[in-house]
Symmetry: D2
Subunit: 115 residues, 4 copies
Amino acid sequence: MSIAAENSTHSQDDVVPANHGYTPEKEAYLRRLKRVEGQVRGIARMVEEDKYCIDILTQVSAVNKALHAVSIGLLDDHIAHCVVDAAQESKTTGDPAVVREKVREASDAISRLLR
Amino acid sequence: MSIAAENSTHSQDDVVPANHGYTPEKEAYLRRLKRVEGQVRGIARMVEEDKYCIDILTQVSAVNKALHAVSIGLLDDHIAHCVVDAAQESKTTGDPAVVREKVREASDAISRLLR
Amino acid sequence: MSIAAENSTHSQDDVVPANHGYTPEKEAYLRRLKRVEGQVRGIARMVEEDKYCIDILTQVSAVNKALHAVSIGLLDDHIAHCVVDAAQESKTTGDPAVVREKVREASDAISRLLR
Amino acid sequence: MSIAAENSTHSQDDVVPANHGYTPEKEAYLRRLKRVEGQVRGIARMVEEDKYCIDILTQVSAVNKALHAVSIGLLDDHIAHCVVDAAQESKTTGDPAVVREKVREASDAISRLLR
């Protein structure tokens, strides 16, 4: 298969498909999530080995914290890219519907994280 | 004093002073905060009257929830106005610094709420 | 009515009625809640004076934090007194129902706080 | 080594060592953590495949919620077993130090979860 064909889904002219703001830091996110996955597996091992419940809870808190950092990063990316792009686009089109939708998505996501 | 003079701080041509997005819903925010203040006073009264600790905790959770709603409202307003305005302004000026700053403020506020 | 009769519910020898664990620190709780009430009133004033939304959010986070401290204090008191007393009582009576109920109340309260 | 010797730490009559309250539900905890691990892996896959940031955030919230359920379960077990056992033991020994320590551990764990 040619390189062009291989990359076809990501190489269409002036379209940047599936670029959601976090794309430039994709590797960093994947590393962080890999670490979280390892932490969760570590917690399961602690349960398996009958470790002290309080020590397990400390590890659960560490995973919560790591996931919060991921969430804040993704929200920052959403606002800095999706919202900002929609705001600038709406300035051109004069239609505020898209930007309103992106803001609402951000608020709903924040609301879900606070619960 | 003429009505024009009375309203002078809010009627300068294309300037909307101290309008931070939440201004149109100011009365609603004030009502909500008045209610939260009353809830906190109610909790103090419960402590004063030696009410059962679990019942007091239930009321504290209700205040947390009410404050979350206020927070999400303010964040939504910040993103929908401060961030969006800065994004559109930056499109004109070509300078992304202001929008970057507004997004960072939103992320920092979200981060503080999640902690 | 004599003073003795008036105080009767609070003066029976080795019984301390309406003592829910937090009673010895009642004054400290009332001071903290008075401060939280003042903070909420301060937030309303900021809204009234059209202060910057992010600065208001910072104050809301401070109130959340103060309420968390109150919650943790009350939970600690509940566990240290209600749960522990019930556990010791159940050792005498041989009936685990009361202690089970107190633990469940604690877990439900924690669950509400985490939401 | 005989099987009896091999299992000796786990087979003394009325002693159940390394029983931290959650032991009877160990399998349920392991299943739940296995599911959380799968969810985290799913989130990484979404990042890998450039899925929409808001959809990723929804999954992160689901993991938070699942971990909260695990935390509350472990706390309930800690209070129902470690705290209650210490309370009953302290009634016999007359020494409140152990129970005080178990309560403090619970409060510290709750405090870490609320942050």
